[in-house]
């Protein structure tokens, strides 16, 4: 999570005065690296995954489960253990020896939440297929090492959110009272955030810039006995300690919404992010654009976030909550007041789906671009003057409409063009679902693209499956030169659609009908080959209306293809389908399989990859449940649940216990199969088969 420089962080009124300076220095640093790195060529395909954990405190014989706030101690323990001894974490091979790994020890990072931890592999992954099989053991190793540096009753778990974060009573260890000066939240204490000055400042300055607390409102799930209209019973309308305490009296907490009021409710969510290194600038821009329409699809497919602050939500994913939790727009920027002091209306939060396509791909039609894009024209002009092309200049001129939130006084003394700190200040607080990353100041690594929408999954098996799947999808995109372009506005719509309960099964998403070129490329070599062809070229295919290029598809159809979806859809649903005869979509998994058929893969690797693809296939078809669905069922069938949307302490405890046990089972290398082995420890984990199937 960004940079952790030390220094004196400016409070908002002071930071605001320096915003322009930081932006202008940031642009100079960007142009410096642009000129250094625009010609970089032939970087290898390297990629990395980031897994984020919640640290919970759980005991078999305790009636509650708490978030542990010992992040600093745990990181300290990890940092002081130079060897990060793997002894306890790597089971010996059958012959008694220790398996050799090319990987240096994993790296652990702090996160915004003081109850969170992030772990990345010790070095990036390559594209050797055998290497893809190292991902899952490495994820298990990371979790094991993390656990080894915690107290016996602390566990790193991969739920996206803690089900009772912000509920009345005690939910952290140690306990702190709510409503501190930084967050001014009536639900969570300031101590919920990483105490490093950057994080509380980030939260405080977002609140301060916005002029009130953030409003994270999630529609509540209406169950049989949920009172309606539903009024969040945990909201306190009486406090008068901070000016922001007026927010709830001014309508911040509408009926039928779970109300939350702090950055921690969003940035305290765990996700699964993948970063790819492209061979050059052009390929990076291509990947950025082509992966963008897949964002909402992968978000819905990995849905894992149905509970907030002790209540079942009517949405399945974390995305919009994070978006609202860091929304620093003023009333003027939001369009609630006439523009007087601010420069423009801004349609989206800093955390939102992408607003730009950045490739110079001739297939990118102007109609795909966001007509409401806000950019800083003077910054764009500086970038153009500095030699950047129009499209990329537009992208960065869009990111740079934002103010820097955290500014360290020490960094303002002089501009250092051998650093990218000011550029990164703006870049890394634009949390869009894709991120286009220039090389670092020393130009030592290549242009990279980060894929950010996926939700973290409960097991490392699933996290490895989704990571590897996305890696293979990038190879398919580049090999087959696929075209996923649809208008950005439709990607935005899809992002909203992805939030619906069970969107993976019940909703449809705009998706491009034909991913392939309309004319064969083979007889006239494509761009970049540098060879011209003597073959007379046919007249360019006329382009039809943009609306004809895409249609609504189910996730089953997008992932598995129309034919498979037809075979696995109930007759009832089929009758409702429009006739899509003759408009068959191939499906991402069949495309991945076509790719694998064309490369040399050994039997064992192919079998393992097939298992990952099977998991994803079944999640998309509904044969297996998303984590969100599984959690809903867990809550619904719990004896302490009153069908009133409230997820009480007992239910939350048992849910976390189930997740801890699944993790223990996986760590020991045992089969999930109904958790029958683990059932010896006190009852099986219900419906686990629906989540994980017969895998493992």
């Amino acid at each position: 999570m960004g940079l952790l420089a030390l220094g004196t962080a400016l409070d908002w009124p002071d930071a605001k005065k320096q915003a322009h300076l930081v932006r202008s220095w940031g642009i100079k640093q960007l142009l410096e690296i642009w000129n250094k790195a625009k010609g970089k060529e032939r970087d290898a395909m390297l990629w990395g995954d980031e897994v984020e954990y919640l640290v919970v405190k759980y005991s078999k014989d305790k009636p509650e489960v708490l978030l542990s706030l010992r992040q600093a101690d745990i990181l300290q323990a990890l940092a002081s253990d130079k060897s990060l001894s793997k002894e306890g974490c790597v089971p010996p091979l059958p012959d008694g020896s220790r398996p050799q790994s090319s990987q240096p020890p994993p790296v652990f990072h702090p996160e915004f939440g003081r109850f969170m931890l992030e772990a990345t592999p010790g070095k990036p992954w390559g594209i050797e297929f055998k290497e893809l099989l190292e991902v899952e053991p490495n994820m298990k190793l990371r979790r094991c090492i993390a656990k080894d540096h915690m107290l016996p009753n602390e566990y790193p778990i991969t739920l996206t959110t803690f089900p009772r974060l912000g509920s009345p009573g005690v939910f952290t260890d140690p306990f702190y009272p709510v409503s501190g000066p930084r967050l001014r939240s009536q639900f969570v204490p300031d101590e919920i955030a990483n105490p490093h000055i950057r994080f509380p400042t980030l939260a405080a300055n977002i609140r301060s810039r916005r002029g009130r607390k953030v409003q994270v409102n999630v529609p509540v799930f209406k169950d049989e006995k949920t009172p309606w209209p539903w009024r969040d019973p945990t909201v306190n309308y009486d406090p008068h300690q901070w000016p922001e305490d007026d927010d709830v009296r001014n309508g911040a907490a509408p009926d039928n919404f779970i109300h939350m009021d702090a950055m921690a409710f969003g940035m305290g969510s765990c996700c699964l992010q993948i970063t790819f290194q492209a061979k050059n600038l052009t390929e990076g821009r291509q990947l950025y654009d082509q992966l963008s329409p897949l964002g909402p699809i992968m978000l819905a497919l990995t849905a894992a976030t149905p509970v907030y602050k002790g209540f079942l939500a009517d949405t399945d994913v974390r995305w919009n909550q994070i978006s609202k939790a860091v929304d620093d727009r003023t009333a003027e920027e939001l369009g609630e007041k006439p523009l007087v002091n601010d420069r423009w209306r801004i349609p989206k939060s800093r955390y939102a789906s992408n607003s730009t396509y950045i490739s110079e791909d001739p297939r990118l039609r102007p109609e795909y671009l966001d007509p409401d894009l806000v950019i800083d024209e003077s910054i764009k002009q500086q970038l153009l003057d500095g030699g950047m092309d129009d499209r990329l200049a537009t992208h960065f001129a869009h990111l740079f409409i934002r103010d820097p939130i955290v500014i360290f006084n020490e960094d303002l003394k002089e501009l250092d063009l051998n650093k990218t700190d000011h550029f990164e200040n703006i870049q890394s607080t634009n949390w869009q679902h894709m991120r286009f990353k220039p090389p670092p100041a020393d130009n030592s690594i290549g242009w990279r693209v980060e894929f950010r929408p996926m939700e973290i999954q409960i097991t490392d098996f699933e996290n490895a499956a989704f990571s590897v799947f996305m890696v293979l999808v990038t190879r398919v995109i580049l090999s087959f030169d696929l075209n996923f372009y649809i208008p950005i506005k439709k990607v935005d719509e899809n992002m909203e659609t992805a939030h619906a309960r069970d969107a993976v099964l019940t909703r449809k998403f705009y998706f491009r009908r034909n991913l392939f070129p309309t004319t064969r490329a083979s007889r006239s070599p494509g761009s970049g080959s540098g060879t011209s062809t003597p073959v007379p070229s046919r007249p360019p295919t006329p382009t039809g209306p943009v609306e004809a290029e895409y249609r609504l598809m189910s996730i089953n159809e997008i992932i598995n293809g129309t034919a498979y979806a037809r075979d696995t859809t109930s007759e009832e649903q089929l009758r409702e389908e429009e006739d899509t005869e003759g408009d068959d979509f191939p499906g991402l998994i069949p495309l991945v399989e076509s790719y694998l058929d064309s490369v040399n893969v050994d039997v064992a690797t192919r079998c393992q990859l097939a298992t990952y693809l099977d998991l994803i296939r079944k999640r998309a078809s509904g044969e297996l449940w998303t984590a969100a669905r599984w959690i809903r069922h867990f809550v619904a069938r719990h004896p302490a649940y009153g069908q009133d949307s409230a997820v009480g302490e007992g239910v939350a405890r048992d849910l976390v216990e189930a997740v801890v046990r699944v993790g223990q089972c996986e760590a020991r290398g045992e089969r999930f199969g109904g958790l029958s082995v683990c059932a010896a420890e006190g009852g099986g984990v219900p419906m686990l088969g629906r989540l994980l199937g017969g895998f493992r």
Binding site: I127, R475, G561, S598, N600, D602
Partner: protein
């Protein structure tokens, strides 16, 4: 006697022909579809050329048209064969290949190039050394590479079917023709020694056949490709032998009878979807006459080594037309 060389060009960005459809595993659809679409593209290119020159007759890129003059009158609106095919050194290229337009984008050293050569059942086994040399030469010319990294040889009459345990391995032991296979291998070894194929491989060899084979060869295969895609259980004897001998077991999904005679006639014939090169006595359409025998197919792929991107993939197929 006319030799015919069919080619697909680079199919990797060629669209639907590379997509696997459910229920078509082990199929040769990729080959036939991509041949068909390459023929069509070549014919369309010709049509465009004609349109550009206001309907004037084009002269097929200056190639001679010795064997195909009879086909000058087109049937069903198809362009003249001589316009989109080419005849050079006694070989009819279907379609004409513009070698200078091809090649890899980067230095050949950046690629993993694999060629898989299928010897077809109808061809004479004694001619395989010639087939192998020709097939590999076409691939190297197409990719403008000095060598392939892996040359896999697939002999006819072999499969790896049945449940993937012992059964398939047992049946495999009696398949193929050990004698012919052993007689062919020295020619393959020669390609290796000549530096044209860095490693050699086999396809569809079960444990017994493989053991017999290893006993007799000089240059040992580094790879054995088997079709076990839907089954993760490698027959234990094969797994063990491969491990002991240091042979990589790779997966493939190719059909062993990749270009049957009837399929080739359909591809080149006057029927729907055919290229319209063969004479048809029923309709009286003119064209090539004689007995058409597919002899070999070679599939090639060039994958950028450290990026996992397939840049080029395609097929050549060799056939012979015997005069009546």
């Amino acid at each position: 006697m006319t030799k015919i060389l069919l080619s697909t060009g680079n199919i990797v960005s060629g669209g639907p022909s590379i997509i696997r459809k459910p229920g078509t595993f082990r199929s040769n659809l990729e080959l036939t579809n991509s041949l068909r679409s390459n023929f069509l593209a070549a014919q369309e290119d010709y049509a465009a050329e004609v349109a550009q020159s206001h309907g004037g007759a084009a002269n097929g890129n200056g190639s001679t048209t010795n064997g195909t003059d009879a086909n000058a009158e087109t049937g069903g609106g198809r362009p003249t064969a001589s316009a989109w095919t080419a005849s050079e050194d006694g070989i009819l290229y279907v379609p004409a290949v513009h070698w200078d337009a091809h090649g890899l984008q980067e230095e050949p050293a950046h690629y993993d190039i694999t060629a898989k050569l299928f010897f077809l059942p109808g061809a004479v086994a004694s001619q395989r050394p010639r087939f192998a040399g020709e097939a590999l030469a076409h691939v190297l010319r197409e990719l403008r590479a000095p060598a392939v990294d892996l040359l896999i040889v697939s002999f006819p009459g072999m499969s790896f079917k049945g449940d993937c345990e012992w059964e398939a391995d047992r049946i495999n032991a009696g398949q193929g023709n050990d004698e012919d296979e052993m007689a062919t291998w020295p020619a393959i070894e020669e390609l290796h020694r000549a530096g044209l194929a860095k490693k050699l491989g086999l396809a569809e060899f079960g444990s017994e056949k493989l053991a017999r084979f290893l006993d007799k060869v000089q240059v040992r295969p580094a790879v054995n490709q088997i079709n076990l895609k839907n089954c993760c259980n490698v027959p234990p004897p094969l797994a063990q032998l491969a491990k002991e001998q240091g042979i990589d077991l790779l997966v493939h999904s190719d059909c062993t009878d990749i270009l049957p005679k009837g399929t080739l006639r359909d591809l080149l014939g006057q029927g729907l979807g055919g290229a319209g090169l063969l004479a048809d006595s029923e309709t009286g359409t003119g064209g090539l006459r004689g007995d058409l025998t597919p002899q070999w197919v070679v599939k090639y792929t060039a994958v950028v080594r450290d990026r996992g991107v397939i840049e080029n993939k395609g097929y050549f197929a060799g056939a012979e037309l015997a005069d009546e």
